[in-house]
Symmetry: C2
Amino acid sequence: MSAYDDLMAFQKETEALGQVMGRLGWDQETMMPRGAAPQRAEEMAALEGVLHARRTDPRIGDWLSEAHAPDEVGKAQLRLITRSYERASKVPADLAQRLAKLTSASQGIWAEARADEDVAAFLPTLKEVVALKREEGAALAAGGDVYDAMLQDYEPGASAESLSAMFAALRPRLTTLRDEVMASEQPADLDFDFDEGKQMKLTRKLAKAFGYDMSHGRVDKAVHPFSSGSGQDVRITTRTSPRDPFNCLYSTVHEVGHACYEQGISKEYLLTPLGNGVSMGVHESQSRIYENQLGRSKPFCGWLYGQMRDTFGDFGVADEDAFYRTVNKLRQGFIRTEADEVQYNLHVLLRFDLERALISGDLAVDDLEAAWNDRFASDFDFEVDKPSNGVLQDVHWSVGLFGYFATYSLGNVYAGCLNEAMRADLPNLDEALAQGDPTSATEWLNEALQRHGGLREPRATIAHACSGVDPSEERLLMYLEDKFSKF
Amino acid sequence: MSAYDDLMAFQKETEALGQVMGRLGWDQETMMPRGAAPQRAEEMAALEGVLHARRTDPRIGDWLSEAHAPDEVGKAQLRLITRSYERASKVPADLAQRLAKLTSASQGIWAEARADEDVAAFLPTLKEVVALKREEGAALAAGGDVYDAMLQDYEPGASAESLSAMFAALRPRLTTLRDEVMASEQPADLDFDFDEGKQMKLTRKLAKAFGYDMSHGRVDKAVHPFSSGSGQDVRITTRTSPRDPFNCLYSTVHEVGHACYEQGISKEYLLTPLGNGVSMGVHESQSRIYENQLGRSKPFCGWLYGQMRDTFGDFGVADEDAFYRTVNKLRQGFIRTEADEVQYNLHVLLRFDLERALISGDLAVDDLEAAWNDRFASDFDFEVDKPSNGVLQDVHWSVGLFGYFATYSLGNVYAGCLNEAMRADLPNLDEALAQGDPTSATEWLNEALQRHGGLREPRATIAHACSGVDPSEERLLMYLEDKFSKF
């Protein structure tokens, strides 16, 4: 066995154990009996210990120094292993352990504080999280920019500077567009009880229509929709609410986008570093293009309207056009995850600016709520009414995910680029979507992007899929301005 | 930290990882999408590698040589860790790996051979399994008896000699009893379609009645009923068949017996060696006493008859007495898992004798089918009609479980002892069972046996629960002769 083969064999086991960890997370959110939580925490901590020891195993360094990649794919494998090894080796074991313990406990404290609308109860913990994440970031940055170092965990190659430029381009045009659309008359809200069993039946039909492979996945209900796993076992969850069928249906299509990316990666990369989605931003490009550019398009909404009439009977929406406007309705809202296509990135931008200030030290944790509320009022023109609609709404900061939020917007921007390239190649796509058939689009995305997994860096992954054109937010803006100017 | 503390901390992580392995097995049988099987095999192999490395970690030897147990519980912990470490250290890593690989593949080969009724397709693999298990047994025996060494994996303290004596006492009286009962008129078979959804509803009610804690467990359907997990997360499966509701209901009560044992172990022993059922035989004593001495008792059957009438309406059984006789009906059958209380142990005995002969070399694998069929005809007075009803019916040998079968009968014998001791303490038990309430019995079993986990050796565990009386098959025989002589 060569050093390369030894390394890849070792890595395969680590990837397999990483999949086990993901499965435990899925089980916890879907199947686990409530009383098992303390034991599950011990199980996950033990497995995390095993994974951490493997990721920092000094033999990896030895193998890397001797390994010769047999081809371009092998070079990409070594690049990802090197990155992961260097990352793991930079963080002292003691710090990694303290962070794991703290963020495991702090999620519960955040959830309780949110339920109690009690920001003060969460702030001492958040201070500790920020302090430890800054310590970790400094270790990772090794003299460079701390926040940039954090970004690499989610979006290799991204920088605060490039993201700031992206948001600077997005903000004025999105705000203008939002104000224009909101000034015109908006469709009424749905007023109908949608049977939850029928929602799940239709949601499974949608999942299959978008190419989700049920022989390598399954759909369950959970409090929060998510996708979990890579390779041959990629599971999704959704949720139902009797008054809001779109929550179920579009959560499903969103998660199917994530899941199809993982399911669609070349079988040759199974249980290797290349066998996972390349970054959070690229992942989100898949979930968002499935959900929005395809799922919320006018032709697809026309087909979905018929499906919903067949499933639920007359639910009080007159025709396809009214249905399309209802699906894409803009509304004043506090919650990022419920935001429409136009306003979503404004929610993200608020978080991006605030978390950078927290990490740089320009904003004290004690001042965070006031800063959030001021910024929200100025960006959205109405006031936050309670912490669960404001600074306590997202789990991310409680578990130390600083640098993550921007990848949501990056995903939207990438989806805009991919949509333009895809539609140039597929002139008849709208006719197929009007028949409820996104197959040509999902096949295009698989061929152009999904099957390559981690072969190229994130931006290069998008550029490769777009005939070499470097991604830009201009594509997303043009798509949104075109779509919503017609309302 | 003392050596004892270090050892126990290490052991706790190993126990937690062992629970993760169990959860993967549960997922595979209940939730996993079909196409995920190859990846799951890699995941389980990687985790098995981690567990094997931990179980043979030389630090365990160092800690054990320095550790001082703080109390009797600590001494029991060290005793179990020592046994596991010595066992793992005796088997060369290479042999352990070859066995793991072989038995992982051979289960599929057995399943296919069984489906095809093709014994010859399975024999080459079985030969390899027998050869490797003999090699492993010789390593474990270190000069002693190979089969006795194998028994220790399932029933520490058991020997072929003591089991032979047990079976020698059981065989003539069970055969006589069987012949007597079968000579009298047997009740008709059920002839009704039992709604499977209603079966599951009633089965959950039964599970709760027997004390199964749903906040630390769950009931799902699977091809084969099983119980999985220890401590705070103990899940069971059952199955439904429209023509045979007893399959569902009594599988559930059986698995609830296993599960309540695990759920009922003292919380102090969570994720320690004492926190698991002490042996297969003692485990089976719990499943069998729940299923038979409690669940198939006349008063409980009376209550269950009412429940089934309420659930399914008139299903063609006239009264409680006829129902009791139907539940306990003896019939000619090929299949061990479907056998009645009287004949079950005769099925086990056949396997015990044949596998001892296989391991000693007195019986060649090529002659196994003929030996099975001859023995079956002589023990049961009718002929095996096809391999799936004969030598290919059980999975055990294909996965190398030699020494396991006898623990089923040992469990029945132990259940007989426990039943006598329990009834002496609970004179009003039958009245409670007639109300569908086995609580006093399950509490007695928890107090006398379940909560102690692995504190005492298996026979001592039973003796402790029975006021110090050493277990004997006489109790089971008297119970069976009393019960079935009244038919």
